[in-house]
Symmetry: D2
């Protein structure tokens, strides 16, 4: 398992140095070998359906992709426990989403939202991650599955 | 086919009244019975990989969903040519993405991007739309398929 | 919840009266409000990679779709507890797969396989179901998500 | 471009040596750098909805996966024009479906069916292929997108 400092650094980098994540207001509230949780608050800019004040589908897809990609990055780190930080960083910089699927099961209503991502499999080349997005009442709003290139 | 004024109004509404579309800077450059084209420029806020200046995957997913959903809306309008505007608006307000799949085939590099969406089928309840995102050099960057609830 | 006889009849119908399910040798080992489990044995006819004796990807997709569709049918029955059998049968006959996604996470090796399906949401028109396929050693081989038209 | 004999051998191997392909009755009617076409006839064994005589969704998924995987194999061969047959065979034996998505747009009615597959991108590790299934009247019945591991 990668050292806690490395994990913390990963979360900080993704939240602070990725412009679009900042624009959305994404923060990481959990990140360990089991799960990555990304949280964000509803705000006028993120609305898709202006009549009903519902979250834009693209915001949901974005949060789900970020949680999934971060979890894939952690999976990659767990698979390479002996790697030097530079080597790891190099691998991480080449990590990318191959494909992403989102199921929108309920309208995106709520004050704040949390996306959790759990790894289903990390292979030598591909990681598969499943994601769920809930609102503050724990209502399931969307599901995702992402395939990430990790090798 | 719906009247040109109605189509223009649809595009204007989606571009101007949807906050997140404005945040991304999406504009509609084409919208007819064949295709919906959504265009946007690269800008610092939309970046995902800050080292390489590549578009965030969520931005790509957002643009693809907007093009697909708009095309599904037009498909719905074409299926109901006799409807009164109020009736249509009511139907349109209930239109939603059921699911969305994005294939990221190349890194999102470019000055500006265009997503085109074409309908594959409009049924009584569900529309299936396929999307492609290219940059200004016509390099294919991402593909999408969306299923939309239209009835 | 529909009566046990109705559920049993549903499972029997799907296993016995659907020719392709019989060809694959699918049986229902569990079917209740929580989960639908479909089981089948490996046999020479179902092989895709003849050098390695691995299950054909299409067999995996088939079993996953059957488990998902059956669970969607049960979800539809639970949503309409007061319906007459004829009415239900009519609804069930119009149930169909809108789309299906399969993630192949490990090669399909094993003596027998089980696909479990759990409903994530049953709406008035669409049901979303998630599926997993394991072998007899409980190794995860494939994952699926299906969207089914139920109304 | 690989030699015609190699391509022919590929098609023959997939049609004759893959048990499940034989069970379904799949044949290759076209295979070149542009497209792979897989054909099969409707027959009682392949039916899913016995009341309406409609093709089983799993049969559709199977045919779509076979066309897509074969096209990915050809893409891999085109990317490695200088490889020795043994080397190529080794690469081909490790080719696998990462994930597959099927959109069922119309019921599978018809006497015979054709699935065409076209490559959207072959990278060093992953190929993305899009597929369509039509019946003998050229009615579009299903669409697919597959991601294949090629490196």
């Amino acid at each position: 398992m990668p050292k806690p400092e490395l994990i913390e650094q990963l979360a900080e980098t993704f939240a602070e140095k990725v412009p679009f994540n900042k624009l959305l207001g994404l923060t990481f509230t959990e990140l360990d070998r089991e799960v990555c949780v990304v949280k964000f608050h509803n705000k006028p800019d993120l609305v898709g359906n202006y009549i009903q004040g519902i979250l834009h589908g693209g915001v949901i897809a974005s949060a789900i992709d970020v949680a999934g990609g971060t979890m894939a990055a952690l999976g990659l780190m767990q698979k390479n426990p002996e790697s030097h930080p530079e080597e790891l960083l190099d691998k991480l910089s080449r990590l990318g989403t191959i494909d992403l699927r989102i199921d929108y099961v309920r309208p995106g209503r709520g004050e704040w939202f949390e996306t959790s991502a759990r790894i289903l499999r990390v292979g030598n080349k591909v990681a598969v991650v499943r994601m769920e997005l809930h609102n503050e009442s724990n209502t399931l709003i969307a599901l995702g599955t992402g395939t990430y290139l990790v090798g």
